[in-house]
């Protein structure tokens, strides 16, 4: 258990891969945590779909501005250099491929990079898609941040998504609590193993033919800790 990264550690791990100067959109939920772990001194410009670049962290409780919120409708702040724009411009930015990176949660990711993260397809669910489909196809890279397994123990990495898709072939990398995977033409390739996790273990948990990138780091979480 302790070998798996918790949400904060995973957010820190993702944040460490974001290059200085990148334009990044963080999805609702866990990806939002990435903002708290950006390396000090690096300038990463956060985009929020509701019309802002240069989004800063949450305000102090007394400084909540109801006109200044993120895609999750939580209070945020404005950094020097920020800019506001309307929704058509905001999604033009996405769709036009101007964001370097988007980090999303997922129900499932297929080995060809298909993403399912907006609906479980349950017949009585109220559907809601928001900006997920636009983000999935818009950013230059789409990283997914998620636990490897569902609460029921099923792998979120799958051969083919069974849930309704958000986007086709859009995911380029998946950060999970046990390992980091790249989506390659040959399917998922392990980029990094956390703790004592092994390739065989991952193959068993996912039921997928996984390869190992030559550059894969076996103990990245420790490496992280020792920085």
């Amino acid at each position: 258990m302790t070998d798996r990264l918790d949400r904060d550690a995973l957010a820190r791990r993702v944040a460490a891969d974001i290059p200085d100067g990148a334009y990044v959109n963080l999805g609702i939920g866990a990806p939002t945590l990435v903002a708290d772990h950006l390396p000090p001194g690096s300038e990463v410009i956060l985009h929020t779909e509701n019309g802002m670049l240069g989004m800063g962290p949450a305000p102090a409780p007394g400084d909540v501005d109801p006109d200044l919120i993120n895609a999750g409708k939580l209070a945020v702040t404005e950094l020097p250099g920020a800019a506001y724009f309307h929704h058509a411009d905001s999604f033009g930015m996405m769709r036009g491929g101007h964001l370097d990176l988007c980090i999303l949660g997922a129900f499932q990711v297929s080995q060809t990079g298909d993403l399912a993260n907006w609906s479980t397809g349950a017949p009585d669910a109220i559907p809601a898609v928001g900006g997920a489909m636009d983000l999935a196809i818009g950013a230059k890279d789409v990283y997914v941040m998620t636990d490897l397994l569902t609460k029921g123990g099923e792998s979120k990495l799958v051969e083919t998504c069974t849930y309704p898709l958000t986007g086709v072939g859009c995911v380029t990398r998946v950060y999970t609590d046990r390992a980091v995977f790249d989506v390659t033409p040959e399917g998922f390739a392990v980029r990094e193993l956390f703790g004592t996790t092994t390739l065989d273990e991952l193959r068993e948990l996912t039921g997928l033919r996984l390869s190992m990138l030559p550059t894969a780091l076996p103990t990245a979480s420790n490496t992280e800790e020792s920085r």
Partner: protein
């Protein structure tokens, strides 16, 4: 002389008929024209089709319009929120229809209506259930879906300031859908905190030029602002921060502690 200002909220929403399609600005609570919606409820129109990003949260504004049974259909990207109980109930009881549109397509379709574009090809939603039955087209090796404009009879939007020509500026992320909705409706009605003299707004910074605006009504400066500057002291809904023993007043207007006079 051009004077698009109207005296009160009743006049601002006059003429909105049963069955009208109404665009409502805002993303969650930010930029939602709550006062105009309240006036619309008072005015009595029903069987409305609402075009908005969300389907209301809490008990105010759009949520109240739905709770009052005035809405026949909602066109939106994200109806389901933790506090969308009025929409949820109406939807589950089959009292309203939902057309779900990905947020970027919603925005672009509204813009297309305002800009006279007949239709456009968007890459969003290709390969998803929302693409079923839709026209697909491959352009330069990529697959797109044909998307049509969304027009409305009325747009209700909320800005920070306007002048008598109807030029509007917004504040921070409260801008969101309002500038494009203003272009896509036959009649665009704007509520603002204050109306300022013509020539006061910086011509370089006007976001919605008056050509898109039909009526402007002042509703008073919000309680978290003073002279258009943020002074704090509210929660995310704009309610005054609770003092240790703050008793919720029966009349929300009296609860203003931060200088607002909404």
């Amino acid at each position: 002389m051009i004077d698009k200002t109207v005296a009160d909220l009743r006049e601002a929403v006059a003429g909105i008929t049963d069955g009208a399609t109404v665009m409502v600005g805002g993303f969650g609570r930010a930029g939602q024209p709550v006062e105009l919606i309240d006036a619309l409820i008072d005015a009595g129109a029903s069987e409305l089709t609402i075009v908005s990003n969300n389907a209301g949260g809490g008990d105010l504004g759009l949520a109240r319009l739905i709770a009052e049974g005035r809405v026949r259909k909602v066109v939106c990207s994200f109806p389901r929120q933790t506090d969308s109980w009025h929409f949820d109930r109406a939807y589950r009881e089959g009292r309203l229809e939902l057309e779900l549109v990905p947020q970027g397509n919603l925005a672009e379709r509204i813009r297309a209506a305002g800009a006279g574009i007949g239709a456009f090809y968007s890459p969003t939603a290709v390969g998803t259930p929302l693409a079923e039955g839709r026209e697909h087209r491959e352009i330069d090796g990529r697959t797109y879906l044909l998307e049509h404009p969304i027009r409305a009879d009325v747009a209700l939007i909320s800005g920070l300031r306007a002048d008598r020509w109807g030029n509007v500026v917004y504040r921070r992320t409260a801008r969101n859908f309002s500038p494009i909705m203003a272009t896509a409706a036959t009649t665009t009605v704007v509520q603002v905190d204050e109306i300022v003299p013509l020539g006061t707004l910086d011509p370089e910074a006007i976001v919605t030029p008056g050509i898109f605006v039909d009526r402007v009504v002042a509703v008073g400066v919000r309680r978290w602002l003073r002279d258009g500057e943020f002074v704090g002291g509210v929660d995310l809904q704009g309610e005054p921060l609770a003092a240790p023993t703050a008793a919720p007043a029966a009349d929300p207007a009296t609860a203003s502690i931060a200088g607002g006079d909404r």
